[in-house]
Amino acid sequence: MPDTQALVMTFLTSLKNATARQTAELLRSVISQQRVPYTNQAGALIDAVKAVGEQLIAANPVELAVGNIVRRVLHIIREEDLSLTTAAIGELNLSAVSDDENDDDRDGNTTLSAAAVAAAARSTLRPPSLQTLLEDTPVSAAVPQTSSSGGDSEGKTADKSSRSRKLKHDVIEAVNELIQDIVTCHEQIAEQAVEHIHQNEVILTLGSSRTVSEFLFAAKEKKRSFRVFVAEGAPRYQGHLLAKELVARGLQTTLITDSAVFAMISRVNMVIVGAHAVMANGGVIAPVGMNLVALAAQKHAVPFVVLAGSHKLCPLYPHNPEVLLNELRSPSELLDFGEFSDCMDFGSGSGSPLLHVVNPAFDYVPPKLVSLFITDAGGHNPSYMYRLIADYYSADDLVVQRRAIAGN
């Protein structure tokens, strides 16, 4: 598949400003160009997506959204395959014992395949999805191999080919939905703004996030009058841009330095910030300075609200997040090279630099400092994040590496 390879290469080169949407679109084209064998179609798709996903993640491990989307797509493939299999089994059962009720059939009569399915479900240790429980759809996790066994029992090649086409079609549909979700996540989050921002409140935010600005605009449009404090977000000063946008929309805005946050926090009713990623434990990877804001908010018992689209939910637990999930950027954002060039003359003395400039891009905010997450699915507690993540990802995909595939 030379075409996808070229696409992957372009993507890798432009990865610096890669977004979740681009990843999803890339994976969609990977799926559509992947030729599917008759047996084990889902497995082939998963392998293809994993191979590409591995490259993407390795290219920039700090950009967690890319990994999230790869895992989401893998999950989608599994889910679609599962629903097709269960549908097929249901069909088979219906034709065999047409009198009985559907649910009972599935539980009682299809002994062979259901037992295998149950065993597989147990082996993957996948908790039952909350959504499926609520919607009362049958729960039966399956690994890709069952699809082939199910297909064999049917023994109709024509049906199989149509099913393979259907699987691919369904997967692409679902990925399209995912892309749609990513595109509209800002609006869906912003819709909830009125419930959270009240009249005459003072909101504090740090840096700039599109989700946050949309959220504030939405509240403004609903005739809420409130004031916004913007911490500038050194050293990239994106808060300046946000302040500009807010003023353009007619919001009363106060720009403060990051170091003034603690002094101002007592006058603030609520802190609303964006996130780079939300980890499985409810911790947040956010622009640098956020931990300071969160601590200040906790000290003054101000609610600390994090807005994050569901594609920012990361199924990984943070180990050593300050280092491993951080991105250290160029020191030139902090100081001028020319002015300090004499401090970095390694040609004299011991040869080791005395000046070390550290410019981390992100902060880790532990879950205990976060009061509320607002995602496109609604508001959630930090302690609830793992459930939300279990809905979106399957446990098999947490490690996207070839070794995992070999294990499969």
Binding site: M9, N60, V323, P331, D336, M344, F346
Partner: protein, 753 residues
């Protein structure tokens, strides 16, 4: 190659047809990458591998340049390969650069090119460049954005067709002691028009021994303002118009991009071609020109100034590396002993093994190295597959691929070990030595012409036969080959040529040793003293010294110098007044103006005036009092005064008395307070001890004269005597001499009471 040439020629022809400026603007940006530096600074390493493929923080240098060109929006790169061209082309073919979308890399190969100028002439003949292009050498690391510089270049070009080149510069302070930039290149002087950013003067080989640079006076006459910089670093990234190539063809003697081309254009005012500069502030750019810049750029990369071209971000061909605390980069699958200490700013490559109790800091370790236990590595660059056995010590060295160091071997700072050298057990490689499997070529490139002549030919003669002209050198070098590298060692230690040992430390990978620095700074102090002495010599001749000269010195010296100048000036004024019979009031006026311009107190004035009066007294021919002495011309007076102290001193005393009488008004106008009077006595004392010893026997008498003329009050004299009470015996000479006088004064005052 042929087909490619043809296609390129066709494309060029097509481009020629449409010469609209709009079309030109729309053309994709091209770049010429010189994959050969045409110098020998990286020898002996470059005898075996081209410089652009040398690993810089575990990634071949050319990858940094290509990655930057791609990110900067260059669509087509022509890589000019010369020395080891096959290696460069093979590398590029196996890399991912040929398979990039929207980015084409083409190679141009030639074996008989010996300079950058020749390379550009060849490219011009190939007709592949159709618009503005970026000229860069394959050893440049940058992360700057070209957009603004390019736009500036295009706009200037539209207004003025002669603006052919935009040079990228960056602020970087040179070391005041070593007179070289932090990249180890010579201090660079540039004159730039602050408004238009036009480059007016470029000098990288200034003569530091004199501490002066020469500017053409037309430069000052023609330009309303110029700013002269020594804190700018030339990044060796140029945005050129296509005319540059034809200029190289027209001037077939242009070899070096800077020394010949840039200076040539600056001097040539017939064609009127102009070079402009673009200064980058927040982004990074530097060229690796010598071992020191290799060291410094590596450290800049590790310190992330070149972000995103840093080891833990995948930009091209580098393995996944994780950045840990304190600037420690570690690739995957490293075997590190629990007791090994890996310090800050260290990069460790894929699959390297580190033994117990080894200490590594500020270093770069390549892939697949094996490091034994109790090894010490400090500030060193170790490339791939190196084996270092137990107990070795490496400080500030470069170790190339496949080197084996047997147990206990020691590398002193500045050593370079080329490929596959073996160092024997417990062998100590002396500082700054270069070791290679190949013998040192006997042709020495001490001459600039030779540097071009043989460096890039790719094949080097290894003849050891004594050349007639180089007989001495050869015998020396063949002797140098003899010391084996310990038991089991393989390789030759190269003798140091080109400027010898003294200059080696300037460009070495090791930091400049402490003693060199102190030596240099002492030498610099001496120079400054010399300059000060020069000034004194000048000012005694009566010339007016403007304060612009003084500004060159240090602030501390300024005040000291100032008082010396002031004294000289006052003396000159006073002497002139005596000669020309200027009225006392006018002299006071003049001295006052001097006092204001030097910011002196009236005590200083009094001291200076008194000093000049006394000087005059010595200089005045002694004939005025006694006719007999007309036989003695004034130059002898000094000698004579020693020989006949009493006789002459009487006359001197007379002289002094006369002068004091004549000029007492002048002196009195500065004696407002008792402090000033004391100052005069102290000054006189000083004179008697140092500059005018003739007065020493007369001290008491002249003091008396001064008292008689009401210049000094008795209080002043008494206070001076009191002050001197506690001083050393040697200081009390004059107090004792005038003891009687003081005694008399004391008694007189008591009587009055």
């Amino acid at each position: 190659m042929g087909a490619q040439k043809k296609r390129a020629a066709a494309a060029a022809a097509a481009a020629r047809v449409s010469e609209d400026p709009d079309d030109l603007a729309r053309q994709p940006l091209q770049a010429i990458l010189l994959a050969d530096s045409f110098t020998t600074k990286f020898r002996p390493i470059t005898l075996e591998r081209p410089k652009v493929l040398l690993p810089l923080v575990n990634v071949p240098m050319i990858n940094y340049t290509l990655a930057w060109l791609e990110a900067a929006g260059v669509a087509e790169v022509f890589v000019f390969c010369c020395a080891h061209s096959k290696q460069v082309i093979d590398y590029l073919e196996n890399s991912e650069w040929f398979s990039q979308p929207n980015f084409t890399v083409k190679t141009i190969e030639s074996h008989n090119i010996i300079s950058a100028g020749d390379a550009l002439r060849l490219i011009y003949e190939q007709n592949v460049i159709h618009g503005d292009f970026v000229l860069i050498s394959g050893d440049t690391v940058s992360n700057m954005s070209l957009t603004q510089a390019l736009q500036e270049h295009k706009e200037r070009k539209k207004k003025d067709n002669n603006a052919v080149m935009t040079m990228i510069i960056k602020k970087s302070k040179p070391s005041p002691i070593t007179r070289q930039s932090r990249l180890g290149t010579d201090e660079l002087f540039m004159a730039i028009d602050p408004n238009t950013k036009q480059l007016l003067y470029y000098e990288d080989k200034a003569d530091h021994s004199k501490g002066t640079i020469c500017l053409d006076k037309m430069l000052l006459a023609e330009n309303p303002s110029i700013s002269l910089h020594n804190d700018k670093q030339d990044c060796y990234i140029d945005i050129c118009s296509p005319e540059v190539l034809s200029l190289f063809t027209d001037n077939f003697d242009y070899q070096h991009l800077r020394r010949h081309f840039v200076k040539g254009l600056l001097l040539d005012d017939i064609m009127g071609y102009k070079i402009f500069t673009h200064e980058i502030h927040s982004s990074y750019a530097a060229r690796i020109d010598n071992y020191r810049s290799y060291d410094i750029v590596s450290k800049d990369i590790i310190q992330r100034w070149t972000y995103p071209y840093v080891p833990d971000v995948k930009f091209c061909g580098n393995r996944a590396t994780k950045l840990e605390r304190r600037g420690m980069y570690r690739a995957l699958e490293i075997e590190q002993s629990r007791s090994a200490q890996v310090g800050s700013f260290t990069v460790i490559g894929y699959g390297t093994k580190i033994g117990s109790n080894s200490k590594i800091s500020d270093s770069v370790i390549g892939e697949g190295c094996t490091i034994g236990s109790n090894v010490l590595i400090e500030g060193s660059y170790i490339w791939d597959n190196v084996i270092i056995e137990d107990g070795c010590e490496l400080r500030h060295v470069i170790v190339c691929d496949g080197v084996i160091m047997k147990a206990g071997a020691v590398l002193k700072p500045g050593v370079v070990l080329s490929f596959k050298v073996v160092i024997g057990e417990r062998f100590v490689v002396p500082a700054y030595s270069k070791v290679s499997l190949l013998q040192q070529p006997t042709v020495h490139d001490s001459d600039e012409e030779l540097e071009y002549a043989d460096n890039s030919s790719g094949t080097v003669e290894f003849s050891c036969t004594a050349d007639q002209s180089n007989g001495e050198m050869t015998s020396e070098s063949s002797e140098a080959h003899k010391p084996k590298l310990g038991t089991g060692g393989v390789g030759y230690i190269w003798s140091i040529c080109e400027g010898g040992q003294e200059e080696e430390w300037r460009h070495s990978v090791a930091p400049i040793p402490e003693d060199k620095l102190t030596e240099l700074s002492e030498a610099m102090d001496d120079d400054q003293e010399l300059v000060t002495q020069d000034r004194t010599a000048l000012s005694t001749s009566g010339e007016l010294i403007s304060d612009s000269n003084a500004s060159e010195g240090d602030d501390n010296e300024d005040s000291k110098d100032d008082s010396v100048y002031f004294e000289k000036e006052v003396e000159a004024t006073f002497l002139r007044a005596v000669e020309e019979n200027v009225k006392v009031d006018h002299v006071i006026l003049e001295v006052n103006s001097l006092r204001l311009s030097y910011n002196m107190t009236s005590a200083d004035c009094a001291g200076a005036v008194f000093y000049s009066m006394m000087k005059l007294a010595i200089k005045t021919p002694h004939s005025s009092a006694i006719g007999l002495l007309t036989l003695y011309p004034s130059p002898f007076s000094m000698v004579a005064s020693n020989a006949y102290p009493i006789y002459l001193s009487g006359e001197l005393q007379q002289n002094t008395a006369n002068i004091i009488t004549t000029w007492q008004k002048l002196l009195k106008s500065y004696l407002l307070e008792i402090d000033e009077e004391i100052e005069i006595i102290l000054k006189f004392e000083e004179m008697c001890l140092e500059s005018a010893k003739e007065f020493s026997p007369l001290f008491a008498r002249i003091l008396h004269i001064l008292y008689d003329k009401d210049i000094l009050q008795e209080d002043a004299i008494l206070r001076w005597a009191d002050e001197k009470e506690g001083a050393d015996e040697s200081d009390k000479v004059f107090v004792r001499q005038s003891e009687k006088f003081i005694q008399w004064l004391r008694e007189a005052s008591e009587e009055e009471d």
